[in-house]
Symmetry: C2
């Protein structure tokens, strides 16, 4: 908006190259300068800022919910039948929560490093990175909904008979995993969009 | 390949507009003619044939597997505890199989109509159609994996104790639903690719 306004102003008043306006117009018409100049960094920030911070936020929330699901489920041992370890669906749910925590932790660390230092951790081309992001997000989303869904029927059945700390923790952990699924599903759509965009420009 | 060859031939032999070659070159340089001319139909077939038949085949297979999952589960009533109707996960699995059959049946019918008559059933823009396809495929894929996953633990538990026609049918129906999920997941990726492609050209 502001850059448009300055561009318009500079085209309406044809001054013979005043320093600040000329710099603006120059930075608009040129191909993107490399990342080590201040202008280049600013331009890259303006262009990629929203999408980068968006995925960073999504992955951060997914990490939070996965960790919650993992912790709540792992600490859910109250002896006898009230032990998650005796049911395969809850063990599966825990395994996927751990996997999702590791995946999202890695992605958050990678993107934090990218935002703060501007350096990419993995030495692949942009398109391959987008492909890795998309495939990872999509597979994790499928795994999360699969794990959460598989744990629901047994929990329902238990809650019909008894309603105690064990079943409440189960429900909480499953809910957290569903939240993580919704977030990673959105993230997968965003990554897929970036992937196709990067291949068709 | 063949159109390139004819174009090359016509550029190598500069005859003063012979009727057949001129028609070829004209049909290459023009914008796509509407669908009621023979040349237009042929050109559209050549361009969109593979992707259209690809999605048609995918949706057809998904319809087949959904129908199988639906029929096997719905006929799986052997009295007493061997009745799918007494377990919520199997009722859910059946519901999603029916939903997937309806969705895929509609899509197959729509695409068959499009391929055979060239007319689109829904009066939306191409981009909105691609969006509808993508959203539908993706949601159905998530529902299918959710339903199949939720039915697995109870089936495993039953098969530990007994191994009869009931549990075998359960396993068969769940497998069919997993196949349908894999196919619709691929279809969702294809639809998403088309959606972004259509918006960035």
């Amino acid at each position: 908006m502001s850059s448009e306004a300055t561009a318009k102003a500079s085209s309406e008043t044809p001054q013979p190259t005043p320093p600040p306006n000329a710099k603006d117009v120059e930075s608009q018409n040129q191909t993107p300068p490399p990342g080590y100049s201040v202008v280049g960094i600013f331009r890259r920030w303006r262009h990629e800022d929203i999408s980068k911070k968006g995925t960073f936020g999504l992955r951060g929330s997914a990490l939070l919910f996965s960790l919650l699901a993992f912790i709540i489920m792992a600490s859910n041992r109250h002896g006898d039948w009230r032990d998650y370890n005796r049911y395969e669906e809850f063990r599966y749910e825990l395994a996927i929560a751990i996997l999702s925590s590791i995946y999202n932790g890695f992605q958050v660390w990678r993107q934090y490093r990218l935002i703060s230092t501007g350096k990419e951790l993995l030495s692949f081309s942009d398109q391959n990175l987008a492909l890795i992001d998309f495939v990872g997000d999509q597979i994790m989303a499928y795994l999360l909904i699969s794990a959460a869904s598989s744990a629901v029927p047994m929990t329902n059945r238990m809650r019909e008979g008894a309603d105690n700390a064990f079943t409440d923790s189960l429900a909480a952990s499953i809910s957290m995993e569903f939240f993580a699924f919704f977030i990673l599903g959105s993230s997968a759509i965003l990554s897929g969009y970036k992937l196709v965009k990067s291949s068709c420009i």
